[in-house]
C-alpha cells in the first residue's frame, strides 16, 4: 500500500522513488527548489542532489496525480491545507493563502491556497497490535474510560487510536482483560473527518478497524457525533484531533448518554493538557477520564504513559 505512493511523484523521479527504503519512512517532503526529503524515525535523507530539484512543473504534475486529475474537486480540502490520499496518507499543502474577512467578526477564512510550493506526505501506518498493551489500562466495567491520546505531531496518535479501535471492536481486549471471556467486541462509530483513521474508498474502510466498527467518513466531528449518537447506538464514538470548543461540549453530552469517547488531541506534555481550559472543564465533569501520552524515542520507537483525569501518572515512566 505504501509503495503505491510512488505514483504521486513525477514520472521523472519515480525510478529513484522505487529504490528508496520504505521501511520506517514517516514523511516525504517536497518543496520547489529542493530535492525530495525523506524523513525516517531517527534520521532523514535527500533524494538525489541539486540535479534532481523539484520545480513548478513537477509540483503541478504531482497535484494532478494526487487529486486524480481533478484539482478543482478538492477545493474544500485544499482550503483546509491538506488532501487525504488513497490509503489514508495525508498530504499537507503550503503555498499562497487567499482569505476573506468574515462579516461582523474579526476572524478570517481561507478561500484557497494558490501557487502551491510545498507538500508534506505523511505516511499512514497500520501497525496492528501496537495498542495491545494500552487497552487493558483503559478497560472499565465492560467498557472503557473516556480517553484521549495525546502527543506532538507525527508521533503516531492516529495509528494508536486506529489499533485501539480494532482491538475493542474485535473483542480482542476482553481476552486480555478478563479471564473466561468470549471476546465480544464493542460497537464503535468512527467520525473520520479527515479520512485518516479508516481511509475509506468508495464507502469501504481500507484500514482494519475491526468487525463492529461503522465509519462516517469526511463528516465534521461536531455534526457526526450527534448524528451517530441518535442513529447508530454506539458503545464508543472515536474521533481524531479534538480541538474545537463545540467538540468538547459534545464530550459532555456523550457522557450523559452513556457513550464512551476515544479521541486524540495535539499536546506536547501533560502540563500543556492541564493548561487547556476546555480539557479542564471536561475533566471536571468526568467527560475525560484517561490520557495516553505517546513519546517517540531517539531510535524511532514509541513509549506510552497513562494518566488519570487529574493528571496523575498511572502507568509508565
Amino acid at each position: 500500500m505504501v509503495k503505491g505512493l510512488v505514483t504521486v511523484f513525477p514520472t521523472s523521479i519515480r525510478p529513484r522513488m522505487r529504490k528508496i527504503n520504505w521501511d520506517g519512512l514517516e514523511e516525504i517532503r517536497v518543496r520547489i527548489g529542493w530535492p525530495v526529503e525523506l524523513i525516517y524515525g531517527n534520521h532523514n535523507e535527500w533524494l538525489g542532489n541539486y540535479d534532481s530539484m523539484i520545480d513548478r512543473q513537477c509540483l503541478d504534475e504531482m497535484l494532478n496525480y494526487i487529486t486524480g486529475y481533478s484539482i478543482y474537486a478538492m477545493d474544500e480540502e485544499i482550503k483546509q491545507g491538506y488532501i487525504t490520499f488513497s490509503g489514508g496518507h495525508r498530504i499537507g499543502i503550503t503555498g499562497h493563502a487567499t482569505y476573506e474577512a468574515l462579516r461582523d467578526t474579526k476572524e478570517h477564512r481561507i478561500t484557497n491556497i494558490i501557487d502551491i510550493g510545498g507538500l508534506n506526505i505523511r505516511i499512514a501506518h497500520e501497525r496492528k497490535g501496537c495498542a495491545e498493551k494500552i487497552v487493558p489500562h483503559l478497560w472499565k466495567n465492560n467498557s472503557i474510560y473516556n480517553t484521549l491520546f495525546f502527543a506532538a505531531p507525527g508521533v503516531g496518535k492516529t495509528t494508536y487510536l486506529r489499533d485501539t479501535i480494532r482491538i475493542l471492536s474485535n473483542g480482542e481486549h476482553q481476552k486480555a482483560c478478563e479471564e473466561n471471556s468470549n471476546g465480544k467486541g464493542l460497537k464503535i462509530c468512527v467520525i473520520d473527518e479527515r479520512s485518516e483513521i479508516a481511509a475509506c474508498m468508495d464507502g469501504q474502510a481500507q484500514n482494519d478497524l475491526g468487525k463492529r466498527t461503522d465509519v462516517l467518513d469526511a463528516c465534521p466531528k461536531g455534526i457526526g457525533m450527534k448524528m451517530v449518537l441518535r442513529t447508530m447506538s454506539p458503545d464508543i464514538i472515536a474521533v481524531d484531533e479534538i480541538g474545537k470548543e463545540e467538540e468538547f461540549e459534545l464530550l459532555e453530552q456523550m457522557r450523559c448518554s452513556g457513550v464512551k469517547v476515544l479521541g486524540t488531541i495535539h499536546a506536547g506534555d501533560m502540563d500543556e493538557i492541564l493548561r487547556n481550559p476546555m480539557i479542564r472543564e471536561g475533566i471536571k465533569t468526568g467527560a475525560i477520564e484517561r490520557f495516553v501520552e505517546l513519546i517517540r524515542l531517539d531510535n524511532g520507537q514509541r513509549r506510552f504513559r497513562i494518566y488519570d483525569g487529574q493528571g496523575i501518572l498511572l502507568w509508565g515512566k
Partner: protein
C-alpha cells in the same frame, strides 16, 4: 424485361447512396448533439457534486449507442479510453490524454476541422484548477459547438435540397441516354 431491371437497379443504387449519405449526416449530427449534451451534463455535475474526472469518464454510458443498436458511441469509447490512460498516472496533464485519444479517433468522429478543433480543446474544461474556470471553459465550448451545429444542419439541408433532385434527375438522364 432487362430494361426494367436495369432501370430499377439504377434508381435503387442512387436512392441507396442518397439514403446512406443522409444517414451519415444524421449520425454526425447525433454525435455532435451527444457531445454537447455531455458538456452540459458536466457543467451541472460540477455545480452540484465533486466530480472526479476519471470516475466520471469511466462511468459514462451513451444513450445514442443504445438507440442506434450499437455497443456504445464514439464518445463513450473515447471517454473510457481516456479514463484508462489517466489511471496509469503517466500523463503530467490530463488534457494530454484527452487530446491523444481524440486525435486517434478523428476519422471516426468525421467532423469538419473547425468543429473537431473545438472538441479537442474542450478537454481543458475538465482539468482546470478551479470549478469556475472549468465551467466557463465548458460553456464557451458549448456555445461554439452549438454554432457549429446550426451550420451543420443548414449545410445539410442545403446539400439535401441540391443532391436529391440532382441525383434523381441525373439517373433519369442517364437512363434516357443509355436505354
Amino acid at each position: 424485361m432487362g430494361k426494367i431491371v436495369g432501370i430499377v437497379l439504377a434508381f435503387g443504387g442512387v436512392a441507396g447512396y442518397l439514403y446512406s449519405w443522409i444517414h451519415m449526416q444524421k449520425e454526425k449530427e447525433m454525435r455532435l448533439e451527444e457531445f454537447i449534451f455531455f458538456l452540459q451534463k458536466t457543467i451541472f455535475a460540477m455545480e452540484t457534486e465533486n466530480v472526479k474526472v476519471m470516475e466520471y469518464f469511466a462511468r459514462y454510458e451513451s444513450k445514442n449507442g443504445q438507440m442506434c443498436g450499437e455497443k456504445g458511441s464514439i464518445l463513450e469509447k473515447s471517454l473510457h479510453e481516456i479514463a484508462k490512460r489517466l489511471a496509469t498516472y503517466t500523463y503530467p496533464k490530463g488534457q494530454e490524454a484527452w487530446e491523444e485519444v481524440f486525435k486517434e479517433e478523428e476519422q471516426a468522429w468525421a467532423m469538419d476541422s473547425e468543429t473537431f478543433g473545438v472538441m479537442l480543446h474542450a478537454g481543458a474544461g475538465f482539468f482546470g484548477r478551479s470549478r469556475q474556470e472549468n465551467i466557463c471553459f465548458l460553456q464557451k465550448s458549448i456555445d461554439e459547438l452549438e454554432k457549429q451545429q446550426v451550420k451543420l444542419k443548414e449545410n445539410d439541408a442545403q446539400q439535401r435540397k441540391v443532391w436529391i433532385p440532382v441525383g434523381m434527375l441525373g439517373t433519369v438522364m442517364l437512363l434516357i441516354v443509355f436505354v
